[in-house]
């Protein structure tokens, strides 16, 4: 199947997750082509061409990744090229723009795909539902198929020895919708990610005695991992951390890829706030602490000793 891989960028560089989309596309077809749109794409096109032939629409009218304009161009090019499958990595960009494009192309879309198989020529896709409690297997009816994949589910291919061709394509950029304008993007500078959305949460409990200790150890480890910080209620009660960090039944419910529970005993009310995390690792002085029953990995030890070691290990590599 003729496959177009929509490659996301932030205006200056390709986003690292694109590799998964190419990897997935290649598993199903030899006819895979990357597609970049935007403005001033030369460097990014060259980067993309290391992995697949690239078609590109480079025009000032597409300077901003605005959904109604980009989706229209994507749909037009997809139709013109006879693409039967369109793939992207699942990100907020894909959910916004690629989904709109999918709508323009008939709506046969599956997002957040984490696995697949081909049975009797039928492509069966696996995707999470119910916040990951269920995996659903589905097929798409009609063409083109629009599929977004989870970045962690597929391997990016190695760059080719010789780069592939880059082909500028023509698209109608003069009659694009003008009802949406981008004002600005307020990048997150300095502030840690929000505990409810971070991929990794480093959470501290009773074991930490002061705000300074929390910031140095829990905060320090979080910064090494680009993670958010969280806490159990004990620290909030003691006034050591603000209420907004509390993870638990009466605090925030989180489900990150990795939840690091440091000096947290694992009371049921705390567990209620993080038990759906993909991987849970805990450090606690008491080897019988309940938290270990709900963790994938555990280290019995003093957080004041172990957390600095973790930070040193991560920084060393």
């Amino acid at each position: 199947m003729k496959t177009l891989v929509l490659m996301e960028h932030d205006g200056s560089a390709l986003r690292s997750g694109n590799g998964a989309a190419i990897g997935f596309a290649r598993e199903l077809s030899d006819d895979v082509c990357g597609f970049l749109l935007g403005e001033d794409l030369d460097a990014m096109n060259c980067e993309a061409a290391k992995f697949a032939p690239v078609i590109t629409v480079d025009d000032p009218a597409l300077a901003d990744p605005v959904a109604d304009r980009w989706a229209q161009v994507i749909a037009e090019v997809a139709r013109a090229r006879g693409a039967e499958r369109i793939v992207a990595t699942s990100t907020t960009w894909a959910k916004d723009i690629v989904t709109r494009a999918a709508g323009l192309l008939g709506g046969a879309m599956a997002s957040d795909v984490i696995g697949h198989e081909v049975i009797d020529g039928e492509l069966r896709l696996r995707r999470p539902m119910f916040a990951g409690a269920v995996h659903a297997t589905l097929t798409l009816e009609g063409l083109p198929q629009i599929i977004t994949v989870c970045a962690s589910a597929y391997e990016a291919p190695e760059p080719a020895a010789t780069p592939f061709a880059i082909e500028p394509v023509v698209a109608n950029v003069t009659e694009l919708p003008g009802s949406t304008q981008l004002e600005e993007v307020e990048g997150k500078v300095g502030a840690r990610p929000d505990v409810t959305e971070a991929r990794i949460v480093v959470s501290g409990g009773r074991a930490f005695n002061t705000s300074q200790d929390f910031e140095q150890l829990v905060g320090g480890l979080a910064d090494t991992l680009d993670a958010a910080t969280g806490s159990s209620r004990a620290l909030v009660d003691a006034g050591i951390v603000p209420n907004s960090l509390q993870v638990g039944q009466t605090g925030k419910v989180v489900a990150p890829e990795l939840y690091l529970a440091l000096g947290i005993s694992g009371a049921v009310q705390h567990l209620a706030g993080m038990k759906n995390s993909r991987v849970i690792a805990a450090i606690n002085q008491d080897p019988d602490a309940p938290i270990f029953e709900f963790s994938d990995f555990g280290l019995a030890g003093d957080v004041y000793e172990e957390v600095p070691r973790l930070i040193a290990e991560l920084n060393g590599s």
Partner: protein, 251 residues
């Protein structure tokens, strides 16, 4: 101004789930259903718009659901929506077809704004709003964390991987609500009592002139179990190694 708020009936996401015998859906016996939390946020936003800038706004809650969907529309009414519309439909529908039904409702009701949750917490698809916008030929403002009215339309803060993106869209538009858009209210006693007198209309796909054409065929489901067997390590270094193996930490 009319504001249409699509509402989805979903199983409470925090419950333990079981699958039906055919493993094609969750077992709905003994499941508690609620108004999709993201749609509750959308209802709240419509209410805030009425309370601040558009006191004459009429807020219509619409749901594509089996008959029990009335419960969740009643929740929207109790929160403050003015009337409700149930598009009665029993079978599973993919986002594309839900969008088609909603588009038909929009044609009927002619709202200036559609606000809905960015995703439903059962299928987590995050597609219906975008498909609806396309079918209507309207702008979309997805994952909104702040919505303001301007002279030309809406100024919307959107939560994206790269940070907060601020866009301007003209009306009519479809806005999909993200978690931090607002904190939905509970219904007060007077509001619950008032809601009993608010009208709920009923219609069907047939009446709306839409024949569902599936784009997605769900073959089966599988439960992902949450038991954990803790592997105890003996050092910080070993912990990092193990975490790298699971790929939650790069390196």
């Amino acid at each position: 101004m009319k504001i249409l708020v699509p509402c989805k009936r979903v199983p409470d996401p925090d419950q333990k789930l079981r699958l039906n015998a055919e493993a094609t859906d969750v077992d709905s016996t003994a499941l508690t259903y609620i108004l999709n939390p993201f749609d509750a946020i959308a209802v709240e936003e419509a209410l805030c718009i009425r309370e601040t800038t558009h006191p004459d706004a009429e807020i219509i809650a619409v749901s594509v659901a089996p008959a029990e969907g009335e419960d969740d529309l009643r929740t929207a009414l109790a929160m403050g929506a003015d009337r409700a519309l149930l598009v009665e439909h029993d079978a599973q529908l993919d986002s594309w077809n839900v969008a088609r039904l909603l588009a038909a409702v929009v044609e009927r009701e002619q709202p200036a704004l559609v606000i809905m949750g960015k995703q439903a917490v059962d299928d987590d698809a995050n597609q219906t709003g975008q498909f609806l916008a396309v079918q209507l030929g309207w702008s979309q403002a997805t994952f909104a964390s702040q919505v303001e009215f301007t002279e030309t339309g809406l100024r919307v803060h959107r939560e994206t991987d790269l940070g907060i993106e601020i866009i301007h869209v003209s009306l009519p538009a479809v806005v999909t609500a993200d978690l931090r858009l607002n904190e939905p209210r509970y219904a007060s006693l007077p509001s619950i009592l008032k809601a009993k007198k608010k009208p709920t209309e009923y219609t069907t796909a047939e009446e709306l002139g839409v024949k569902p054409e599936p784009r997605v065929r769900l073959l089966s489901m599988e439960l992902v179990h949450s038991q954990r067997n803790c592997e105890m390590v003996t050092s910080a270094r070993e912990l990092i190694l193990k975490l790298r193996e699971t790929e939650v930490i790069k390196g």
